[in-house]
């Protein structure tokens, strides 16, 4: 286990390094942040001073080295636009994104698993066919466009739900959250459902396939022969074995939800880190782009590792690499 964790950590560090070099050099080649930092009326002397104070006159590898040594001590540089530490900016906005992603994941599971189980148990029923049609649609609908249609229907036409912002928040362990107030919940409903839509379809399909496969296995036949009730067979035996592969998917999907929140946040003006990175890209705010990248790589590596470990716990047949 220890050697496994070690090799995974090493892999993460390597990914971080490669990604940071790639993005650093890439962004370095693309644009000159000086124009962004200065007003149009700046004198050449002021210009030179800014260039020197940000170290922009150094060769790229030296600038990278400075970035790297500072990064190791937790300093990812100041945002060119906000003139605040990039790390702080992102960490401030992270709870909003995580809240959105987790609520969407929860929605996807609560809606997707029961529908998938039903469709798997009665594949020929009319309801199951409608569920599967819905899931094909869910795969094909452009998420951002559905978000707009949802705003049009529920906010503009019906006026039921707000179209933007987080609403009223309360502090939970010092972190502002929306899901504990009624106002916050009403603000969460549309963006979270919008984000969840694609995942609902995915989970329906996976659960259905898992249930159908499980029903043909010997232990189900044995359970039936033993005279167990159908409810017990489905809820205990079938569901338990269906959920194992779902864990991997759920882990990976959590990461993808966080990434896709970029789109949802833009549509619903949700003040998360996705909105921040889109703005940073459009003005080439290099420190924020880099910091966002570093944080997501770390976050994803942790999620992936957690999934792998969890998987080996629920399914003892799975052995981790390097684990003897």
């Amino acid at each position: 286990m220890t050697s496994y964790l070690l090799s995974r950590t090493l892999q993460t560090v390597l990914t971080l390094l490669v990604m940071s070099v790639l993005v650093f050099v890439g962004v370095y080649m693309v644009g000159n942040p000086v124009d962004l930092l200065l007003s149009t009326t700046a004198t050449p002397a002021e210009r030179l001073q800014v260039i020197q104070s940000f170290g922009l006159d150094q060769p790229v590898w030296e600038q990278y080295w400075t970035f790297l040594t500072h990064a190791l001590s937790g300093d990812l540089g100041n945002s060119f636009v906000f003139n605040q530490p990039a790390l702080t900016l992102i960490l401030q906005r992270m709870p909003a994104t995580l809240e959105l992603a987790f609520v969407a994941l929860l929605m996807a599971l609560v809606i997707g698993i029961p529908l998938g189980v039903y469709a798997g148990l009665k594949p020929k029923a009319l309801v199951s066919k409608s569920i599967m049609t819905f899931s094909i649609l869910g795969f094909s609908l452009p998420t951002f466009w559905i978000g707009l249609v949802m705003i049009l229907v529920f906010s503009v036409k019906l006026g039921w739900l707000p179209a933007s912002g987080r609403g009223e928040t309360v502090d939970l362990f010092g972190v502002p959250v929306s899901f504990l107030t009624l106002d916050g919940l009403s603000h969460l409903a549309l963006p979270a459902f919008n984000l969840a839509l694609f995942k609902i379809s995915l989970i329906i399909r996976l659960t259905r396939a898992g249930v159908m496969e499980c029903l043909q296995l010997d232990f189900v036949r044995f359970a039936r022969a033993k005279g167990l009730s159908e409810t017990r067979i489905v809820l205990v035996h079938v569901l338990k074995n269906t959920l194992i592969p779902l864990i991997t998917v759920i882990g990976l999907e959590l990461g993808s939800l966080i990434a896709f929140a970029v789109v949802t946040e833009t549509i619903f003006a949700w003040p998360g880190m996705g909105k921040l990175i889109i703005d940073a890209i459009s003005v080439l705010d290099r420190p924020v782009i880099l910091a966002y990248l570093m944080i997501t790589v770390v976050m994803f590596s942790i999620i992936n590792l957690a999934v792998d470990i969890l998987y080996s716990i629920v399914d003892p047949r799975v052995r981790l690499e390097g684990d003897s």
């Binding site: 993005v23 094909i136 951002f144 466009w145 707009l148 049009l152 990461g255 970029v262 833009t266 997501t296």
Partner: protein, 312 residues
């Protein structure tokens, strides 16, 4: 048809159908099966119509939406079914610059389809070559290539596309490149999986014992047998690439304003949505939806037809 007419003989006629299928080329057999599937047929009809509309956009469109001389700013944000001063009929309304939305959608479809297909095709060639190489070479090459694939696939496509577009900037060529970078790994993994199975088949041993060169074994013997799953993946990926391009353009980091794509049209209409001018965003989205649903219907049917393990 013969099955229905002669139910008592169904086993027989089924054998006949199989024999018939085997004697025809696999391409025609697959196409035949596709045309018999009602959903797939719907998909084929939708996609064909949209591709034709995009192809002949300059002939069908009542105006060239990107020739500023043809636009009349006085006609901006007219609802569907309006008529302009000059007598032009706006079937589904106009956008904020007085552009006929129907024409804009036809031109937008062009961009979306070109970007989707070319990025999927390039990613397929690169991914399939690397996947084949990985499976055939094995050992260290395989381990390194697959580790890269694993790491890349553990990040969502949109995140990787975002990063590369941040570096590359805007433009059709840039977004195609970004989409290729995000997609090649799917092809590589798919083809490696099937190539590993095929490699152990006796026909490969036979080819080896005839001292055929590696390249010929790889591309003329193993590759054709790996094609079915690759075709399924490619179909789904074209749809995904089109969706991803639209999403990125919607976010304002994909295609520049000078290149009309569906995502950009939807994005243009976004700010007028809250005041109730729904059509600027709605109709381009509908076109995008039809295109993606159509491709996915075909892909879904292809998976059922080409997957030998399918039930029933």
């Amino acid at each position: 048809m013969s099955n229905d007419a002669n139910p008592g003989n169904s086993v027989h006629s089924r054998d006949g159908a199989d024999a018939e299928r085997a004697s025809r080329s696999p391409f025609r057999a697959t196409l035949g099966a596709l045309l018999r599937d009602r959903l797939a047929l719907t998909g084929i009809i939708i996609v064909t119509l949209l591709v034709l509309a995009a192809l002949f956009a300059p002939l069908i469109a009542p105006q060239n939406p990107y020739d500023l001389a043809q636009l009349d700013i006085m006609d901006n944000r007219l609802p569907p079914g309006s008529e302009s001063m000059s007598g032009l009929y706006y079937l589904i309304g106009t956008d904020d610059q007085g552009r006929d939305l129907f024409s804009a959608i036809l031109y937008g479809l062009r961009t979306s389809i070109i970007v989707g297909i070319s990025s999927a095709a390039i990613a397929l060639v690169i991914g399939a070559s690397l996947g084949l190489l990985s499976a055939y070479a094995g050992g260290k090459t395989d381990a390194i290539l697959m580790r890269i694939v694993d790491i890349q696939l553990s990040f969502p496509a949109i995140l990787i596309a975002l990063i590369f577009l941040a570096i590359l900037g805007q433009g059709v060529d840039k977004i195609i490149l970004a989409l290729v970078i995000t997609q090649w790994a799917y092809y590589a993994r798919t083809i490696r999986g099937s190539a590993l199975v095929e490699r152990r088949r006796s026909y490969v041993d036979a080819a080896r014992s005839m001292a055929l060169p590696d390249r010929s074994i790889l591309f003329r013997h193993i590759l054709p047998n790996c094609l079915p799953p690759l075709i399924v993946v490619a179909t789904m990926r074209v749809a995904y690439a089109i969706m991803l391009e639209a999403t990125l353009s919607f976010l304002g980091i994909g295609l520049p304003v000078t290149e009309p794509s569906l995502g950009l049209l939807i994005s243009n209409g976004f700010e007028y949505l809250l005041s109730g001018d729904y059509w600027i965003s709605f109709f381009p989205g509908l076109a995008l939806l039809l295109l993606i649903v159509g491709i996915n219907l075909i892909g879904d049917a292809l998976r059922d037809i080409l997957n030998p393990r399918r039930e029933g």
